[in-house]
């Protein structure tokens, strides 16, 4: 299980743009065939549908008041106008004119109110729920106006609203059907196999560059690669290993693109328990691991080594790999200084899927060199969630965190890794109440430096985001932020 990148904050950074130049002649009715490993569990993003639903539905079937672009910016979609009161607590949104749902119902302010409240409802399983908790009330004074009142200032409100689908308030249960305003409607979903979308002819905005899309779901990465090789799909949304890339290299039949992911592999300590409550021990372990070698073992020359939790697509990114560089000699000295001249022993909870078992073996041999013994305990994703995330019953664990703008996790002392520094908590909380993006960025940058200095977690590397397509198609997103895969600009040659 990969965790849906649904937890994040504030406005975005721009990086890699959309793929490839425009094609000479494109077919306006082409159906784009997409291969993916992430089938949604159901069709409702507040009902535990997983990251697959963001891929298939965000901005394709459902739109928000705002969208998170592939470059990481927040831009208005269904909100034609947004004004904020003097005290920053009242946000007034005016809706786009002439928008209707796929069912034919016109979009009204009541639908928006319903949609926001749906995410905040008691039974909502959305991981956005807590970031919307600053909302005190949502009102619809007239058909075109929505007023959101906050309990405290929140500079990330527009960003957080990119995660809120605007759903028809008459739609009812949407776990197996949809009623959105996006450029595509759902045709059919065959569980375990495929989901198909077609162009919505009454779409309020510009018509998409294609006639629709079919998401084909695979359980094996090898089957996904074969599907592209045999022209059963036009594009695959994630390549899982560098070996697979060799299949597509050296030919003009395929286009390989590498964007910036937000997926970070790390070893989280339980900072509440000894010896990981000791900053010197954590810094020693950070220096004991040759992250570059680990990254190369898993991804060849792709991806990048991390010195903290923040990836380059977050505005508060800074290269902090120099804080605790690889230096096993220094690591041994620091362990002695911390009172562990003969090292110690700990259990590493290791999820049973790639790349964690390989990383665990690598760590075991790296840490043995500084006298620390790692006992690897392999667990399933479900056990990880129950034992590590919920019960916090662990010493250290491997995990990949896929979320965008998730440094906020360090501002929550109750989070599973138990990092508790009042200064960081305060910086993260006050960043949210900033008046400007610059102020927010500066505060989060400070917080990021502190967690790096204290080696709160052992961050290893950022995964590359690799999309491979047939060279007949272009215009798909490269970074896939929040797992989104925008369809509307994809063109296919005739």
């Amino acid at each position: 299980m990969k965790f849906a990148p649904q937890f994040a904050l504030a406005i975005g950074a721009a990086l890699a743009a959309f793929a490839s130049p425009a094609l000479a002649q494109s077919d306006p009715d082409a159906i784009i065939r997409i291969g993916s490993l992430y089938e949604p569990q159901n069709l409702d993003n507040t009902a535990g549908a997983g990251q697959g639903i963001n891929e298939a539905f965000n901005d394709n079937v459902y739109e928000g008041l705002f969208r998170l672009t592939d470059e990481g910016d927040v831009e208005p979609v269904l909100a034609a106008d947004h004004s904020i009161s003097e005290d920053g607590l009242t946000h007034r949104f005016t809706l786009q004119d002439g928008v209707s749902f796929h069912s034919g119902d016109p979009l009204t302010a009541e639908d928006v109110k319903y949609s926001i409240e749906r995410v905040m409802a008691e039974e909502s399983r959305s991981s956005r729920k807590s970031s919307l908790s600053t909302i005190e009330s949502v009102e619809a004074p007239d058909e075109r106006t929505v007023v959101v009142t906050l309990a405290k200032k929140s500079i990330s409100l527009p960003y957080n609203l990119t995660y809120v689908w605007i759903v028809n308030d008459a739609a009812g249960d949407i776990s197996a059907s949809e009623d959105g305003t996006g450029p595509y409607t759902l045709v059919d979903w065959r569980r375990g196999s495929a989901l198909s979308l077609e162009r919505f002819e009454d779409y309020w905005g510009d018509a998409p560059a294609n006639g629709g899309a079919v998401f084909n779901y695979f359980t094996e990465a090898a089957a996904l690669d074969n599907a592209l090789l045999t022209n059963a799909v036009d594009v695959i949304t994630s390549v899982q290993s560098p070996d697979a890339l060799a299949l597509f290299e050296g030919t003009d039949e395929f286009t390989i693109s590498e964007g910036n992911s937000t997926t970070k592999q790390l070893m989280a300590y339980n900072d509440r328990v000894a010896p990981f409550d000791n900053v010197t021990v954590r810094k020693a372990l950070a220096r004991a691991v040759d992250k570059q070698k680990l990254l190369e073992a898993i991804w060849d020359d792709r991806g990048m080594v991390l010195g903290s939790f923040v990836p380059p697509t977050d505005p508060w990114y800074e290269d902090l790999t120099g804080v605790d560089p690889y230096d096993p000699e220094a690591a041994r000295e620091m362990l002695a200084e911390a009172g562990y001249p003969d090292g110690f022993e700990f259990t590493l909870e290791t999820p049973n899927y790639d790349p964690h078992p390989i990383t665990a073996e690598f760590l075991k041999s790296e840490l043995a060199k500084v006298g620390v013994t790692v006992n690897i305990n392999i667990i399933t994703a479900n056990e990880w969630y129950t034992k590590v995330y919920q019960a916090k019953d662990f010493e250290a664990t491997l995990q990949e965190h896929v979320n965008h703008r998730d440094i906020v996790f360090y501002g929550n002392p109750d989070f599973y890794w138990g990092y508790d520094n009042p200064e960081v908590v305060d910086l993260i909380a006050s960043a949210e109440e900033s008046d400007t993006v610059e102020e927010q960025t500066e505060k989060l940058r400070q917080a990021n430096r502190i967690i790096a200095e204290e080696a709160a977690t052992n961050w290893f590397f950022l995964y590359p985001q690799i999309v491979v397509s047939s060279s007949e198609i272009s215009g798909y997103p490269l970074n896939g932020l929040n797992a989104q895969f925008f369809l509307r600009d994809i063109e296919k040659a005739e």
Binding site: A47, S127, K129, R191, G192, S196, N382, Q390, F409
Partner: protein, 320 residues
């Protein structure tokens, strides 16, 4: 016969209930909480509690079992925790792939194994008899997924003759595409299955070849092929049929691996996903239905044997 059928039906129903109980308990002995699969990193305590309440994992196990039994009595397999959809229709949809896959592979395996097995026994002293036995040994040693991967690479990727994986969006409404996507999986299963079947057929035939009745038939003037077909095959078939029943049943469950290699949305992949996500209703539903099918296959094999062998028809007979 009527009494026999009644008795078998009662045993079948009881077996199902026992299987259900065992499944229920075993599933809940697995570490992990079904509520966890529904949430992601970032969920707070209140959301976790709400999810547990929704799936009922906050209730004591006997309360959960009571609920399960009362649903089952109404033929209600429940609603998936993960998809929020009823489990039974999904099982039926997926059976429409797994069942044809298994049955076709089974028939193909018989078509390969029976003639070759008889040949290997009758011509055990010739080079090809030895070669067939040797190849079947090899077939037994090769893992099924490896054959699948090899076939995909050769037939689908290199030659582009058949699709590499998947099942058409429209399912059997698109019979050509649906059939095509099952060809490689069927061959994959049939190759492995025929290897083991062949060995049974061969040894059953060898036993028959030494039998008195065959010698007598030949002494009465029947040719060897005719004697083998009239008396040998009929006698040899009885033990082979029980093996066939077991093979068919294990293929039904063993299709998991092949379905995964070929990304087929069959029962096996539903089971695997259900286990990963601790989606109890899905796992229970799939296993109960497959248990039912396996019991029915055993039932059918039994009846078939009785039809072939008159000694089995009479319960007082020494063979029973």
């Amino acid at each position: 016969m009527a009494r026999y059928l009644l008795r078998r039906t009662i045993v079948l129903a009881l077996s199902l209930v026992v299987a259900g109980l065992v499944l229920f308990v075993l599933l809940r002995l697995l570490p992990g909480d079904p509520a966890a699969a529904l949430l992601s990193v970032g969920a707070d305590e209140a959301q976790i509690a709400a999810a547990r309440e929704q799936v009922g994992s906050d209730q004591p196990i006997w309360v959960q079992f009571g609920r399960f039994l009362s649903d089952l009595a109404r033929f209600d397999l429940g609603v998936s925790f993960v998809s929020n959809q009823p489990v039974l229709p999904e099982i039926m949809e997926r059976l429409a792939i797994t069942l044809p896959l298994t049955v076709a592979a089974f028939l193909l395996a018989i078509a390969i194994a029976v003639p070759l097995g008889i040949l290997a026994a009758v011509r055990a002293d010739r080079w090809y008899g030895v070669a067939i036995s040797g190849l079947s040994q090899l077939g037994l040693a090769i893992p099924v997924f490896w054959i699948g991967i090899l076939l995909v690479w050769l037939v689908a990727v290199e030659w582009r003759l058949l699709p590499a994986s998947g099942f058409p969006m429209r399912g059997w409404a698109d019979p050509v595409a649906a059939g095509q996507s099952l060809i490689l999986p069927i061959i994959t299963i049939a190759v492995v299955m025929s290897a083991s079947l062949l060995r049974y057929v061969r040894s059953a035939t060898l036993d028959v070849l030494d039998a008195d009745y065959l010698r007598n038939a030949r002494a009465l003037g029947e040719s060897f092929p005719r004697a083998l077909i009239r008396h040998g095959i009929r006698n040899g078939a009885v033990p082979v049929i029980s093996i066939l029943g077991i093979e068919l049943a294990s293929t039904l469950l063993g299709a998991v691996v092949v379905e995964r290699v070929f990304s087929l949305p069959g029962l096996g992949s539903m089971l695997l996903l259900g286990i990963e996500q601790r989606d109890y209703p899905s796992v229970q539903g799939v296993l109960l239905i497959t248990t039912l099918l396996v019991l029915l296959i055993g039932f059918a094999a039994d009846i078939l044997q009785r039809m072939i062998d008159p000694r089995l028809r009479d319960n007082r007979g020494s063979a029973r």
